[in-house]
């Protein structure tokens, strides 16, 4: 019963708030949804703790028949096992906190019930995804969160950029879904079922078999895993299908924290872990996962280095961290991937909500160039962001302990090294390099925002607020006074801050220890005890590598943004082409526009004007009409409008013809 409550309470709340809307008013709508989420959250933690203490087996609660079509059957059901339990606490905790945070953040929005209804609807879909026992229900959750994401990115639908970003998110995700769907079709063809446990059980026997897909003869498990992985790439914004994520920042900041950092975008990682026994049967697929993950980690980090918008920096950071999770899965360290997913949820949600608090304080300004010196003005937000930064950069001391990211990120980097494969080595090098960049862009964000002198008056938002321009203002603050956020926003920051500090230390044994972890996961993902043991045996320089990378990144950022005033600008000028390349996000958007979007419209017009009208109609009906008109003038009579007589003639003619033929046929 508990699990039904956890999953369906948010749906119920979304319905009440969404349909109640103006009728029930702001406060009841907000209260219902937030309360539902806190109840779900309170019910989820005991399940998680239960799995930690008792390492229970999986449980499946059937809900309703969905589709029965011959040998294809699937139902609505809720599966709970250790993997689901982890996701349950991540989703419900972050969601509950984001609901609470939104009380403050969305205070002045005229459309609050709709916002909260969408948030709860999202949570429901996400919970359906993580409790799925078959691939189709997973796809339901997958698309459900996509819908909620679309609605929330486009929440401020009056802004053209917001509605464009919403469409982009949905359509790019659909490209991934094409892979996911074909993966499901193929899986059903091969295994005769879409039930996840049955597939995982039968998968090892299929290793080495071959199948024809689109005219190519391929290894069965490789093609199935890769098709499914394309779906994961879309949802988790991996290189190639990542373009929607930065644009998704058009949505309100709490949305970015919940959907585009902590939960939805990690669905791809969850899927790969859920299906890990399947991926284990194909080395090629795992190698692809590793390489794509590693490339995303470094790509997104390079773009994050030079962005001005505080949310975009964090968005690219998310993209990069998801890359880490994928290459962890690719080298077989699924538990480490899940561990990073878990800690990342806390510190990345914290960073986003912290950024939201800064934006709130700075009168909706998101450009870091116009921040500076905010440490004293909004100290609580500062400390929360500090905790998040220490966590994401992986601050800690080998052998003693550290912040959340220290445990999970280092485990990933070490696992990549310990895996011994060549792709693993590649991922290791990239991982260390990306750690350096992570440290740099994270500290850059901190220095630009919280240290230095205020540059506020250059912001149009601030100018608007204080009714002054840089010329008329007496100093660079423009007399603007940033205010610390209300408690509804600070409490979530505090809770997540605690998570960012302690989540790694508290749970690393359960997630990644060779013995404890094996017991905890209890078969809910492929747990390589040998590999998890090996990560303790890596050379000391490997263990220190990421810490050193972190320190280099920190120092560089310190020298450039704390000490040197014009160093960043000079550096950018020196390496102008590289800077532009990074700043313009490697020109992916321009490229896609050129090779997909424009041709689609061009072909559309071609088919319409030249195909339908110019060819089919011209030689078809219009041609016939012309012939007829030149002859008997029937078409002309058509235009005289005696429709009734024509209808009557048609009917009589038809009846006569049929009768005659039938009677004749009967003889």
């Amino acid at each position: 019963m508990t699990i039904q409550l956890i999953v369906f309470l948010p749906l119920l709340a979304a319905i009440v708030a969404g349909f109640g809307n103006r009728v029930i008013g702001n406060v009841p709508a907000k209260f219902v949804t937030t309360a539902a989420l806190f109840v779900s959250c309170a019910l989820s933690w005991p399940i998680f703790i239960d799995y930690i203490l008792l390492s229970r087996a999986a449980e499946v609660v059937p809900v309703l028949t969905w589709v029965q079509s011959g040998d294809l059957n699937f139902e609505w059901s809720l599966r709970v096992d250790a993997l689901t339990a982890v996701m349950l606490v991540v989703v419900t905790t972050v969601s509950a906190l984001v609901h609470l945070y939104s009380w403050g953040y969305m205070e002045e929005d005229p459309d609050q019930p709709r916002f909260f209804a969408y948030l709860s609807l999202f949570t429901f879909a996400m919970l359906m995804l993580v409790t799925a026992d078959n691939l189709v229900q997973m796809f339901f959750g997958w698309e459900g969160v996509g819908l909620a994401s679309y609605l929330l990115i486009g929440f401020w639908f009056k802004k053209p950029t917001a509605s464009a970003a919403a469409i982009k998110a949905f359509v790019v995700n659909r490209v991934g879904d094409l892979g996911f769907m074909l993966g499901i079709f193929g899986t059903f063809l091969v295994f005769g079922t879409v039930s996840i446990p049955e597939i995982l059980e039968a998968a090892p026997a299929m290793a080495g078999s071959t199948i024809t897909f689109a005219g190519m003869r391929l290894d069965t498990m490789t093609i199935l895993c890769l098709l499914l992985f394309i779906g994961a790439m879309g949802k988790s914004a991996q290189l190639g299908l990542h373009t929607w994520l930065p644009d998704a920042m058009e949505g309100p900041t709490p949305v970015s924290a919940l959907i585009h950092a902590a939960t939805m975008v990690t669905a791809g990682v969850f899927m790969v872990c859920r299906l890990s026994p399947m991926f284990e049967t194909s080395e090629v697929a795992l190698a692809v996962v590793t390489v794509v993950g590693a490339c995303t980690a470094i790509f997104a980090a390079t773009v994050g280095l030079v962005q001005h918008d505080i949310k975009r920096v964090i968005a690219y950071s998310t993209c990069s961290q998801l890359g880490y999770m994928f290459f962890a899965a690719g080298v077989g360290a699924y538990s480490a991937a899940m561990f990073h997913l878990f800690t990342h949820a806390f510190f990345k949600a914290l960073l986003f909500l912290g950024a939201g608090s800064v934006i709130h304080a700075m009168h909706h300004e998101q450009d870091m160039r116009y921040y500076g010196g905010l440490r004293k003005e909004i100290p609580l937000t500062f400390w929360a962001m500090m905790a998040g930064t220490l966590a994401i950069t992986g601050v800690g001391i080998v052998g003693i302990g550290g912040f959340a990211g220290f445990y999970s990120k280092d485990a990933i980097i070490e696992a990549a090294f310990a895996s011994g494969s060549s792709t693993g080595q590649f991922a290791f090098i990239i991982g260390v390099l990306a750690a350096l960049l992570t440290s740099f862009y994270s500290w850059r964000l901190m220095f630009l925002t919280f240290w230095g002198t205020p540059r506020w008056i250059q912001s149009e938002h601030i100018q608007h607020s204080v009714h002054k321009t840089p010329e008329t203002a007496e100093d660079s603050t423009g007399g603007y006074h940033p205010h610390e956020s209300p408690f509804s926003m600070l409490i979530p920051l505090g809770v997540l801050g605690f998570g960012a500090i302690a989540a790694g230390f508290l749970f690393h044994n359960q997630f990644i220890d060779a013995t404890e972890g094996f017991r905890f996961w209890a078969g809910s993902l492929a747990f390589d005890r040998h590999l998890m043991h090996e990560i303790h045996e890596v050379p000391l320089w490997v263990k220190l590598a990421s810490t050193v990378a972190m320190l280099i990144g920190l120092t560089t950022a310190f020298l450039m943004y704390f000490r040197g005033k014009d160093r960043p600008a000079r550096l950018a000028a020196t390496f102008q082409p590289v800077y532009n390349f990074f700043f313009n996000k490697w020109y992916f958007d321009e490229l896609y526009d050129l090779i997909f979007v424009r041709p689609a419209f061009w072909f559309g017009r071609l088919f319409w004007k030249t195909g339908d009208e110019g060819t089919i109609d011209r030689f078809g009906p219009n041609g016939v009409a012309a012939v007829v008109a030149s002859g008997a003038g029937v078409a002309k009579k058509f235009q005289t409008g005696y429709l009734y007589s024509y209808a009557l003639v048609m009917l009589l003619g038809l009846a006569a013809a049929v009768t005659w033929l039938i009677v004749r046929g009967a003889n």
């Binding site: 009056k158 090892p204 195909g611 009906p621 033929l661």
Partner: protein, 516 residues
């Protein structure tokens, strides 16, 4: 006689026929009322039909038969597939009457009569058990639709109705000749008997082509689809609803009832043709939909793309494909009907279908925006709505036969999302820039009453499709068993690796499509 002890099917044909005649002599308001009451009574009769339908019972139920002259008989009877399509008809009909309540002001009695006559013909097509009776009803269905477009249509209605008429009539002439030959060969015009009659394979080829000429136009399949956008654009709202909702299903029903079971070998022989035309249709018409400026044209083109999924599913020759195709037919009937109603709602207010004239409707019409979003998502095939179930099943079935075709057809989910969301964005998102758009009121109670039932049905079919699939299960089983001898081999050719033993003998059938 049947499980109800009265000829319910004849009643369902006679009642609207009678009402149609009476409507001709009534004033506007009385005609509206009579039409509404009649269609509601028919809907109630439809529910009686469904409630008393014996799932797992005999294939043909509610059978009636009166011998007329020659081979010709008044033979009615339905199986589960026909029943679901009749349900779709009687469900949409009262909504059509409601949609015309205020927008039709001239010749109301005749208009209502045309719709009621239409209903007679549609129910008749799905219930006919005599091949000639089917033919007459099938072709006569053109006439009221032709009148509806030609009299109550838009500015360019004559051209549209002419095009509609020309296309559809052309195909039907050859079909009639084929039917005559069949009756002569088999010695009966009884459809259930013909379903089990094996025509010689050589004869099947040209018979199949003759039927194809008619059904492909009705479907419509590319490249004989160009009548549809024009017909939709010119037709009044309710005409579009019934055209997209039910008339387009007649082609699919024809393939299902005639082409596949009567000519299985020929069907297999022409799979390449069906697949090729359908693949082109999915990509081509989706791209055309993307660049449309006229809302109705956009939805009309999207219909062609959706109907291509139906033909692909049907010609997959297996259970998932065919059941999926039927669910797509039902779902598309609801969803595209609802989308045309959505267009009608704002057309009634602003009298233009040009997409760019709108924008920002979420602000002043939130209820409308919500329902429009739901139907948009159903059209895109979001899981949890009816659109997903059918599309998914059809494509699963298709994949068993050909992965290439499936790959191309599945791109429809990307393109579909593209053109529908682009439409939605231009209509409902953005600022309210035009004053006349700003003045548009939200849905009236009448409009709400038209759209809400469809929304409920769409969700029902998406979450618990079992209600709709249970009645068709047996009939699809019969059909699959009938055509299995011609079923194509799949292109997967799964081969086990050398190192591992074959598990459970499962892979043997995996490549062969349906196992019974």
């Amino acid at each position: 006689m049947n499980q109800l002890d009265f000829p319910i099917l004849s009643l369902m044909l006679g009642l609207p026929m009678l009402a149609a005649i009476i409507c001709l002599f009534l004033n506007a308001q009385a005609a509206r009322l009579l039409a509404l009451v009649t269609t509601l009574v028919l809907f109630a009769l439809g529910i009686v039909l469904w409630a008393n339908y014996d799932i797992g019972g005999p294939q043909w139920q509610y059978v009636e038969r009166i011998e007329l002259f020659g081979n010709f008989a008044w033979a009615l009877g339905i199986d589960g597939i026909s029943m679901m399509l009749i349900m779709l008809t009687v469900f949409l009909m009262p909504i059509c009457i409601g949609a015309s309540w205020e927008s039709i002001k001239e010749r109301v009695g005749e208009y209502m009569a045309a719709f009621l006559f239409m209903e007679v013909l549609m129910i008749g097509v799905f219930a006919a058990q005599d091949i000639f009776l089917f033919y007459i009803l099938f072709e006569a269905g053109l006439i009221p639709m032709y009148l509806i477009i030609g009299i109550w249509g838009g500015a360019n209605r004559i051209y549209a109705s002419y095009k509609f008429f020309l296309y559809t009539l052309l195909g039907s002439v050859v079909m009639l000749i084929a039917m005559l030959w069949m009756v002569q060969d088999a010695g009966t015009s009884d459809i259930p008997t013909l379903l089990n009659y094996d025509f010689a394979p050589e004869a099947q080829t040209w018979l199949w082509l003759a039927f194809f000429a008619s059904f492909a136009v009705k479907m419509p399949m590319w490249p004989v689809h160009t009548w549809l956008p024009d017909a939709h654009v010119q037709a009044p709202t309710a005409g579009s609803v019934i055209l997209a909702g039910v008339l387009l299903k007649m082609g699919g029903y024809g393939f299902l009832r005639f082409s596949l079971p009567m000519f299985p070998e020929a069907s297999e022989q022409f799979i390449w043709l069906i697949f090729a035309l359908s693949m082109v249709a999915v990509v081509y018409t989706s791209l055309v939909a993307l660049v449309q400026q006229d809302m109705k044209k956009l939805i009309a083109y999207s219909s062609v793309a959706h109907m291509a999924i139906v033909t692909l599913g049907l010609f997959a020759f297996n259970r998932q494909g065919i059941e999926g195709a039927i669910i797509v037919m039902l779902s598309h009937g609801l969803v595209s009907g609802a989308l045309f109603l959505c267009v009608g709602v704002i057309y009634d207010r602003l009298h233009t279908r040009e997409i760019d004239r709108y924008g920002g409707l979420s602000i002043n019409m939130p209820k409308y925006a919500l329902l429009f979003m739901l139907f948009t998502m159903a059209s895109i095939g979001l899981p949890g709505t009816s659109g997903f179930v059918g599309e998914f099943l059809s494509l699963v079935g298709l994949y068993k036969v050909n992965s290439w075709v499936t790959l191309v057809a599945t791109t429809g989910i990307i393109l579909g999302a593209g053109y529908m969301l682009y439409l939605y964005r231009r209509v409902a998102f953005g600022e309210l820039v035009h004053d006349d758009v700003k003045a548009m009121p939200d849905l009236s109670a009448r409009e709400m009453a038209l759209l809400a039932p469809i929304a409920a049905a769409v969700m029902w079919m998406g979450v618990y499709p079992e209600s709709f699939m249970a009645p068709i299960r047996g009939d699809v089983g019969t059909l699959v068993a009938r055509i299995d001898r011609a079923a194509p081999e799949g292109d997967a050719h799964l081969k086990m690796g050398q190192a591992t033993a074959a598990p459970k003998g499962h892979e043997a059938e995996a490549g062969h499509g349906e196992s019974h």
